[in-house]
Every structure is written in structure tokens, then in C-alpha cells.
Subunit: 69 residues, 6 copies
């Protein structure tokens, strides 16, 4: 499947913090560079996401805000 979102960052799941409602998933996309995703617990279970899973962090370009010091 291809998606129209401009960012599909390949990475490895470092940690999954299942909550009551949502699950927090920490993905390493490069040595020492992590992206945090929050998805519903249902989705995390459906996708069988666990430590070591190979995943893509899919992010729309319009959802990336730029900040400068």
C-alpha cells in the first residue's frame, strides 16, 4: 500500500506503553532519534505492535510544525 502522506519513516519499536484508552509507542527511526506515537489500544492490538516490530511512522507534511530557537 502506498499512502499520500509525505512522511513514512521506517523504524523499530523501542517501547510500547499500553494505557486504558490509548497506547504510547516509541519508534527509533535512526540511532538515538525517536518518534512517539499515540494510537488507540485497539489499533495497537490489531497491528500486533510490540518491542522490535518493524513499522513506519506515517505523518502528513501539513502536520509537521517547524520551530526555531
Amino acid at each position: 500500500m502506498q499512502v499520500s502522506a509525505r512522511n513514512a519513516l521506517k523504524g523499530t519499536v523501542k517501547k510500547v506503553l499500553p494505557g486504558l484508552v490509548n497506547s504510547e509507542v516509541i519508534i527509533e527511526i535512526a540511532p538515538g532519534v525517536e518518534v512517539t506515537s499515540i494510537i488507540t489500544k485497539t489499533s495497537a492490538d490489531n497491528l500486533k505492535i510490540q518491542e522490535g516490530s518493524q513499522v513506519y511512522a506515517v505523518i502528513k507534511a501539513t502536520d509537521v510544525i517547524i520551530a526555531t530557537d
Copy 2:
């Protein structure tokens, strides 16, 4: 300034593609790992974003979709 968004990925601007309405900004957040952001041209001008600028890609955790092959 601190922000509540869980992801603030430090990186270097590789390319700025100014459009009529929006500007496309390509940020390298790790060797060979790029994030594309689309912001309004006004914002790109206000923040004086250009190639080589040090910036943060700020992304809410709830805006990160996870995909698996």
C-alpha cells in the same frame, strides 16, 4: 519555549521549495532521514527558514499514524 507536542526533532533544513501559497521544507533529522513539512509561505518567511537553518520538526504524538507491512 517548551511545547506540549511530544516530538520536537532537531534537524537541518536541506531544501525549501517556496510555492504560491505554501512552502515545502525538507529537514534532515539524521543522516539520510528526512522529514517533509508544509507550512504557509508567510510562516516560512517570518521564521527566515533557508537551507542550513537549524530547526525543530514539532509533531503531536496523536498525528503519528503507524503502518506495518
Copy 3:
């Protein structure tokens, strides 16, 4: 590829309105029920989206606002 977004509505592209910056894509997901998506022209070209294409409208559950009369 599976995605964590809870909505992946299968449909047929009815119309593509390419703009300078973005392309507007009208997808029929059921007889007489259409969903409008706006993606960047680059993405529309990359995915070779045209009238008749079979696609999925992928929407996060948290991006669906509910309104009542």
C-alpha cells in the same frame, strides 16, 4: 500494509481537480456518498491517482468531528 488509523474506506475516484499546489480528489465510497480529500499535487502524481482508481480514504478516528442538528 496495515495502518493504525481506524478508518480505511474503500472507494473509487470520481474526480481529480489538480491545483497549483494541491489536488482535490473526490472518492465515492458508496452509491451517492462521496468523500473529498486534499493532498499535495506531488502525492497525487506519485500515487498515479486518476478517475476510476481504486483507493482507500484513510482517516484517523480522532479527526472525525460529530455534529448534530
Copy 4:
């Protein structure tokens, strides 16, 4: 009230799954075609959403990602 969001899909609430924090609302927008929304429990209570309610699924066109096989 009219909204600027390009998608206002009329439908019937099939199921409401109240959680501690959020409520999951399943809306049938065409025979066999369902859209899942996650809103805060407060909003679900304020709008008195229950099975059989007639509602609109309001979705911005820029929040609709397109995927192709």
C-alpha cells in the same frame, strides 16, 4: 450551522463505546459502510449521542489521507 470542512457525511449511530476519557462512536453512513469517531466523553454526553442518533461525520479534506494497494 454550516461548516467549512468539506465532508459532512450524514449517518446513523450504530454503537457508542464510552471509555474513561474518550468515547468511541461508530456511525453507519451507507449500508455496510461505517466511520469510527473518537471524541471526548464530555462531548458525547453534551450532544446526547446514542444508538440510533442521526448525526454528521465532519471531516476536513486535508485530514483524508489516500492509500492505494
Copy 5:
């Protein structure tokens, strides 16, 4: 119509900047406090938005990022 989005800020349109693709709408929600919205030109035309129009700025609570100095 009621919406599940937690913020519906009543205000007066101060300025409309029609672009090729999108229109920028500046809304005064309190003396000296303005909110900028970017919607498609089609939506701005459909809603007949012009200077002086009474409108609501509808914003999901999950789309409000908090920043501190």
C-alpha cells in the same frame, strides 16, 4: 447544529485573503485577539465569508498545543 469539537469561539471576520487554492481568514474573537484560519477557497465562497461576517472558529481540543516560555 452542535459539534463535538470543544472550542467554538464566536467572532467577527476582520480580513479575508483569497488565494489561488486557499483563503486566509482572520477572525477577531475578543478585542485585539485574532485567530487565523486557512480553509479552501471553495469553502470560503460556499459560506459567503466576508469582512464583518459573524462566525465561529471551531477547533478540536486535541489540536490545541500548549507552549510555555
Copy 6:
């Protein structure tokens, strides 16, 4: 830090409702005008947000939907 989001509304925190997963933060941006934000509890703790805190409500212009009666 400057951000590309077009709205950075300065205000005072009126109420913080910590939940299990998320925290609801009510910000007064003008006398009698409040904005509700929902962020993760982790973020609320990290930013030490409490009643009386001076904060900014950061909102992308594309996340502001316009509604008219």
C-alpha cells in the same frame, strides 16, 4: 522559540483536569473567552502546567474550521 503555527494565543490557565491518560487544560485568552486543550498527562507534568500558569495556545491555521449560523 518561534513556531510556524499561525496562532499562538497568550493566556492564563484557569483549570487543569488531570485524567488517567490525558489532561484537559482550560486557558483564558481574553476576559470570558476560554480555549480548551487536551494534551497527554505526561506533557502537562513536563510543562508543570497549573492554575495561573502563563501559556500559549498554539493552533495551526489549517486546524481552525469556520462555522456560520
